[in-house]
């Protein structure tokens, strides 16, 4: 049985009024946090207390709260999405912490993810990378070929799916010591490279997406593997290797 108990914690949270303002770490004390609460519910609780004291609450990104939309972020105690693995911040529960703990909460730090306010960052650099080539150029039509006309080996379909499971949260960038977006881009390039439908545009896709990635100011991959460990969806480093291959092929064409 889950043991229900309440803990008291100290929070050190990054507060920053807006993109231009200078921010700082602020300390808050929060009592009676249920260990059954999720991390974001704990922040809700903090905000409720702040609002009741007429202090401006902490802004943070979140939406689905079930680990799939990719909107929540947060660098908690020095790790992307907190101390647990294979989950997003919204799936992190307070039972991972102890009474009296001090918890650091910071926004994703990356030149390509500027802070908007408090813990909210701007991840539109990811959007622009996708817009540069993360698609198959097929128009809407009731007359594309039948879905079963092109068989796809199960192995390829499964691998493509694993790559496509990326939720675009940016944890890979946040945790990478170089702020590299290679896992994110590699996953998208891989998904299409593995499927016959994506192969037609493979050359242009990888060149365009990598070019855009570089322009956005992400760092370079040094294969530390941190991204793979912290990725809430366990996207494999294989995808980065595949992108490296695809890029080489495309560059030599």
């Amino acid at each position: 049985m889950a043991s229900k108990k309440n803990i008291n914690i100290n929070l050190k949270i990054w507060r920053q009024k807006n993109a231009k303002a200078k921010g700082s770490m602020e300390t808050y004390k929060l009592d009676n946090v249920s260990t059954d609460s999720s991390f974001l519910e704990m922040l809700d609780q903090l905000n409720e207390e702040l609002i009741n004291k007429q202090i401006e609450p902490v802004a943070f990104d979140h939406d689905c709260r079930e680990g799939i939309c990719g909107m929540c972020s947060l660098y908690i105690n020095g790790r992307a999405h907190g101390p647990d693995t294979g989950i997003t911040t919204c799936q992190l529960h307070m039972r991972m912490f102890n009474d009296g703990d001090t918890i650091f909460v910071e926004p994703w730090r990356s030149k390509a993810f500027p802070v908007i306010k408090d813990l909210v960052v701007d991840r539109t650099s990811f959007e622009r990378i996708q817009q540069a080539g993360g698609f198959v150029s097929v128009n809407t039509s009731g007359n594309t070929i039948d879905a079963n006309a092109t068989p796809v080996p199960k192995h390829d379909a499964d691998k493509a799916f694993e790559a496509a499971a990326c939720i675009g949260c940016g944890a890979c960038v946040a945790t990478c010591k170089n702020g590299s977006a290679m896992l994110f881009v590699g996953a998208k390039v891989s998904q299409y490279a593995l499927l016959p439908q994506g192969k037609v545009e493979a050359t242009q896709r990888v060149l365009n997406m990598v070019r855009q990635m570089d322009e956005e100011g992400f760092g370079n991959c040094t294969n530390t593997g941190a991204c793979e460990i912290e990725c809430p969806k366990g996207i494999s480093l294989e995808n980065i290797a595949r992108m490296n291959r695809e890029f080489l092929k495309a560059s030599l064409k």
């Binding site: 050190k12 990054w14 770490m25 660098y75 105690n77 020095g78 790790r79 101390p83 650091f104 910071e106 730090r109 990356s110 030149k111 390509a112 945790t175 010591k177 170089n178 702020g179 590299s180 060149l207 990598v210 070019r211 990635m213 570089d214 100011g217 992400f218 760092g219 370079n220 991959c221 040094t222 294969n223 530390t224 593997g225 941190a226 460990i229 912290e230 480093l237 294989e238 980065i240 290797a241 595949r242 992108m243 490296n244 291959r245 695809e246 890029f247 080489l248 495309a250 560059s251 030599l252 064409k253």
Partner: protein
């Protein structure tokens, strides 16, 4: 687009890091094989090897490739590191990377810089001495002539004279000694007043190596520093070897084997390198 991508893009920079890095791994293996003769071979074998390494044109080509690789690897690495630093202008107040990556993988630039410093001192200590030191000892042996024992330098194959006498200090007893720039760099040539070559003696790399690590004042420190440098190299290789394959796009069913081999390589090669000075200092 495609052409410039092979130079400028972040991924291409990693190809070059990987290619030069892997080439340097090959170099390490070759260098180690030669060095091991310090333990398992005779002095003369070692000096023969040194002669071969500096005279064979194919080896020469390889050595230029090695210099290029080291330089490129270092410069490319520095550029990447600068970019990487810029990609995170504000650092985390609390960071806990040990949960997701190895110390070595996060510190390749630091390790690489240390290795570069080592390479420079290493070259100063041995390569430069051998190439530029006019007082470099030559391969010698005792000869007995008329009951008198005397130390003489041994001529290389094809030398005008088979021996050349040495003075009490072990230096060439000649009136004119000039290093011949045109011939092999491990050879000291004795030319007479008219410019004729009278003797070609081989520099004794084996001896300076032993002297270096057995020096009563600095030998121990040199040995320790050398061993430390090899430890740094080991960490660099520990991440670098398998990382190079990943950068080149090799991540498949062979990856576990590559990783295991890389780990073995990263431990064994620097370890063997490190054993040599230890052996020289303590055993010989």
């Amino acid at each position: 687009m495609a052409k410039s991508a092979l130079l400028k893009s972040s991924i291409a920079k990693k190809y070059w890091m990987a290619l030069t890095g892997l080439f340097l791994c090959l170099f390490l293996a070759g260098h180690l094989a030669g060095n091991l003769q310090l333990i398992f071979g005779t002095a003369s074998q070692f000096n023969q090897y040194a002669l071969f390494m500096t005279s064979n044109p194919a080896v020469k080509l390889l050595s230029y490739l090695t210099y290029f690789s080291i330089l490129f690897h270092a410069i490319d690495g520095i550029m990447l590191t600068v970019q990487n630093k810029k990609a995170r202008p504000v650092a985390y107040a609390m960071n806990n990377p040990s949960n997701n990556s190895t110390l070595a993988s996060r510190n390749m630039a630091v390790l690489g810089t240390l290795i570069l410093v080592f390479i420079v001192t290493h070259m100063v200590n041995f390569w430069a001495v051998m190439h530029f030191d006019k007082n470099m000892p030559l391969v010698s042996r005792e000869v007995s002539e008329m009951g008198m024992s005397q130390k003489v330098a041994v001529g290389v194959l094809g030398s005008q004279a088979p021996y050349f006498p040495l003075d009490a200090k072990g230096k060439l007893n000649a009136e004119v000694i000039r290093r011949n720039e045109l011939t092999q760099k491990t050879v000291t040539t004795v030319v007479d007043k008219d410019g004729y070559v009278v003797f070609e003696g081989q520099k004794d790399l084996h001896k300076i190596t032993f002297d270096f690590f057995q020096d009563p004042k600095t030998g121990l420190i040199a040995t320790i520093l050398y061993v430390l440098a090899m430890a740094v190299l080991a960490f660099h290789l520990l991440h670098g070897f398998q990382s190079a394959f990943q950068s080149l796009g090799v991540n498949n069913k062979f990856t576990p084997a590559i990783k295991s081999f890389g780990t073995l390589f990263a431990i064994i090669v620097p370890l063997l390198f490190a054993i040599i000075p230890v052996y020289i200092h303590f055993v010989k």
